[in-house]
Symmetry: C2
Subunit: 589 residues, 2 copies
């Protein structure tokens, strides 16, 4: 049982049968066809030789199949993580150098260890620090940045740059030297791939093709582009016209590699590894959960961390680079009928066959074609309507999203995600640091107390009741103190203040000290301080401190009890008053 | 009017009279007596020549008096900020070098600009990120670290170190070379100062001395120690026996200095300047608020930022280093009867006189005496009972506090404060990421709904009501989804889920997406999702999104309305049932 909890594969392997194998095999064939050009392209995006992409699509898939909890997640190189890899190791070594590859392997190892550590410590919660608007903004901006970075391959010019401005400047510098045959191949490939994505499937279905076959044909678009442009380069001898191709790729299975054990290198890479782990995990787990829900299966986020960690460690030991679950690829895997992670193992076998036998075929594959597959894939991730939607719903979420997008495009991909996390946390703290506080009064004819600004209520001259709609903690204690002193200062006849706490879920040590200060200061001003409607867990904790001994007033079970004790005349009159006309809206304040 | 808001001094100067002047003058004399040895000592703690401490106690006091909002705050060099200054500029230049002094001046300028910027942008809220336990732990650990760092002056040995271990190791290395006359002076000074602090005042009061005079005598302890040990060194010729003294101090008023305009230096110092600003501001504003409250005056935190900013800019232009409001010094100022910030201006005049005429007197002042004043002052800040109190009240606050203390002592003062802030924010997010969620049922004989675990209530088989006791935001949406799916999966007969939201103060964009996902997934499972008791502001915001169009169920004004609609039979029976025996405690869950 414990082994099955550690290695989910033991559970599904026990009941594995021929039907499941047939389904998994079909899914594996389709995913393999899709993954070959993707893995070559994303390796190029990461600044690595194309075969590294193939290596990253073999053992990591087996690692995830053994330890992951999703039945449909397809692991491998993905666009955003490839760009993050390039950004991280580009600071340490020059692309193409052996140090660059070694750093990529170290990054995979480190990222795998981070994921494993988070999974074993059950810290999957950290991924929650990435809010949806930040993720969405990050993916959109990364998509734009990645597409822009690939334009130079379409134009057949040198260049580079980490930000949109640098990329644009570099392109402007070289655009005159564009290679026309390369541009033709790239433009045709982009046009073809867009056509396949948007038009091919309806066309095939219209021609009476079976739905699943039409699906396969659509997903085979990139491989068709690869074959067509490779053949074109060979037959027309375009390599002589300056069309850059993939060239010689080592043929064979991935070698056993060891990540370089260099403490200063690991330390340099650690921040990037943490970010890559978080981003990769968030992407993976959301697609895994979406797919699992369709079949009423459950995903264990901490087990996902272990699965992805195993995949990255496997990448490090087999000459790969950081991997994670891909969105489009996993959906294809699921739609193609994958029943178990065995589909991933079979996909790995397919890629292994390609690495062993097919690499010579890629000699004449133009890099422009790979760039075209990347551009079309990442532009599908760009979600501009989400920006508008977020703007309408919440300015503060929009601020975090906009900051993420601007910093990703203007400074870089790592700075962008860090900014997004920091801004969303600061804005959340800012929001909870100014809690909604309402002066409440009694609704005539009832024992209920409501906001004086939203309801016709009866208040007392001697007793001020303030309802605070937030837990009390370090970021809002100063605001609470200020508000209460201001309210008291404006009411000379006041004898009692009641803090009504139905929405206070905890009071931390800072807030406790503030409450003690409030009690003392109000006491000096001749005003008695009470609490009402304190929740059970909060009360339990207050009883562990000396606060209740210093409290000048009482803790009332309900606000009605408080008012009945502190101002019986007003309260009694209010309770017996006629009910006001019923309010129409659905609002409760 | 606008000028008076920008420069609070204009308001109090208009009504300034002779009585106020008399009070302020007395306070200024006492504070000056206290401040002379402190400013020399804290400059030494910051690794700066002693006269820099005097310079930092002249113009900065005038700057604060013009722009600050507190009437009693006494600004100048303080222990913790001096140590932070040493830590920050010690990385950039060697103590004693001109670059070191230039960096101190740049740090004062930068810190002043940070404070001004925060004040003008009204970002005083950022100081709330420092929770009370983190501040308390930080001050305690800094006190221990500062006291330890001064032991070498008491022993008369060389040494250094930024952490407790380094300091201890350095002391152990040199302890054999301790200079006995120095040790004698240091030990006597410490003993004398402790005796003054704890015994002198009761003794003088017992002898029939007036309370205010006894106060002055007590505060004059350090200056008495300075005079006595200086005379001892002169008369006994102890300088020849290896007793290190302050030596030659330039005589005269502070020169006009310009902070060095070196972008890379400023960038290096920026993180330290931000931390120094925050720490200094938090210390100042809390003592200022405490003192203001005693006279029913108000402090404007953003104006305090401007006042402290002006003080630090003034320090930068007059050869000083970062300053802030000192706790002990402000209390003395207040107790001595300071009526207005004019007391600060008069104190500045007193220090200016000392700088102009008295510095030759300090030639034979032993550094051991200064170290003794520092040790006795900072050990008074160490608050060990606070650690225990925090431990009993809240393990999570204790964790932040313990992390701060350990990192300050073991790694350094800046790392400590950053760790404290990060840990307290992460623990707060962790806490709110697992909100308290209660299944609720109807209290028989009422329309109230309460936690099934804490009350005898009636529930429905077809309707599950979950009350969530926290705002819904990015860090807790995943937990919310998980809990609801788990609850639904365990109840096959369920037709409706009601999310009761009386404690939900906002729903951010991430949570909105999660709610949409929950609606869709439950719909697929044949379960309808409703909300109840949604607050006004939250409802207003939901109406700005498309959520309500996709919601399968309804938004009910009250939970009773929800149940009366969804399971009328159970609800009606429950409402008419006999009331249970009244509960005894004060708990409301």
């Amino acid at each position: 049982m414990r082994a099955a909890r550690l290695i989910p594969a033991l559970a599904w392997l026990r009941v594995y049968d021929r039907d499941a194998l047939a389904s998994d095999l079909l899914a594996a064939v389709i995913v393999t066809i899709m993954l070959i050009p993707q893995s070559l392209a994303y390796a190029m995006l990461a600044g690595l030789p194309p075969h590294v992409g193939l290596y990253a699509s073999i053992l990591p898939l087996v690692g995830y199949a053994l330890f992951g909890s999703s039945r449909a997640l397809a692991v491998g190189p993905v666009a955003v993580v490839s760009l993050m890899t390039a950004a991280a190791i580009g600071k340490i070594a020059a692309p193409g150098s052996p140090e660059y590859l070694a750093a990529a392997i170290a990054l995979a190892a480190l990222s795998g260890l981070c994921l494993l550590a988070l999974g074993i410590a059950r810290l999957g919660f950290l991924a929650n620090l990435l809010s949806h608007p930040v993720i969405s903004g990050f993916i959109t901006a990364s998509g734009i940045l990645i597409a822009a970075s690939q334009l130079r391959h379409i134009l057949g010019v040198p260049g580079g740059g980490d930000t949109l401005i640098e990329i644009a400047r570099s392109l402007a510098l070289h655009v005159d030297a564009a290679n026309l045959p390369t541009l033709a191949i790239g433009a045709l490939a982009i046009g073809f791939l867009i056509w396949v994505r948007s038009r091919l499937k309806p066309l095939l279905l219209g021609l009476g093709l079976h739905r699943r076959l039409a699906d396969v044909a659509t997903k085979a678009g990139p491989i068709a582009a690869v074959l067509a442009t490779t053949l074109a380069v060979s037959w027309l001898g375009l390599a002589g016209d300056g069309v850059r191709t993939v060239g010689d790729i080592p043929r064979g299975l991935p070698p056993l590699t060891l990540p370089p054990f260099d403490a200063s290198l690991w330390l340099d890479l650690l921040p990037a590894a943490i970010l890559i782990s978080l981003v990769g995990f968030v992407e993976s787990v959301s697609v895994a959960q979406t797919l699992a829900a369709k079949k009423r299966q459950r995903i264990d986020p901490n087990q996902e961390l272990v699965g992805l960690g195993a995949a990255n460690v496997a990448a490090a030991f087999s000459g790969g680079y950081p991997v994670t679950g891909g969105f489009a690829r996993s959906v294809v895997n699921f739609d193609a009928g994958a029943e178990t992670p065995m589909a991933g193992v079979l996909t790995a076998a397919g890629i292994a066959l390609a690495a062993a036998f097919l690499t010579p075929l890629f000699f004449n594959l133009p890099t422009a074609t790979l760039a075209a597959t990347i551009i079309v894939a990442v532009l599908a991730l760009v979600d501009l309507p989400a920006i508008r939607r977020t703007f309408v719903y919440s300015k503060s979420d929009f601020t975090a999203m906009a900051a993420t997008i601007l910093v990703v495009l203007g400074v870089g991909i790592e700075a962008g995600i860090v900014t997004g996390i920091a801004v969303s946390i600061l804005l959340y703290l800012w929001r909870t640091s100014r809690p909604h506080m309402a002066i409440v009064g009694q609704v005539p004819g009832t024992e209920h107390f409501r906001n004086v600004l939203r309801h016709q209520v009866i208040t007392s001259e001697r007793v001020l009741t303030v309802r605070v709609d937030e837990s009390l903690y370090f970021a809002n204690t100063r605001y609470l103190e200020d508000r209460i002193y201001d309210l008291v200062a404006a009411r000379p006849k006041l004898a009692h203040v009641v803090l009504m706490c139905p929405a206070v879920n905890f009071i931390d040590a800072s807030a406790l000290e503030s409450l003690e200060t409030i009690v003392l200061r109000l006491k000096a001003a001749g005003v008695i301080f009470h609490l009402s409607e304190v929740k059970g867990p909060v009360m339990d904790r207050l009883q562990r401190s000396s606060f209740l001994e210093h409290l000048t007033g009482e803790v009332f079970l309900s606000q009605y009890h408080a008012m009945a004790r502190l101002d019986p005349a007003t309260t009694c009159r209010a309770a017996q008053a006629a009910l006001p006309a019923p309010s129409t809206g659905m609002k409760v304040a």
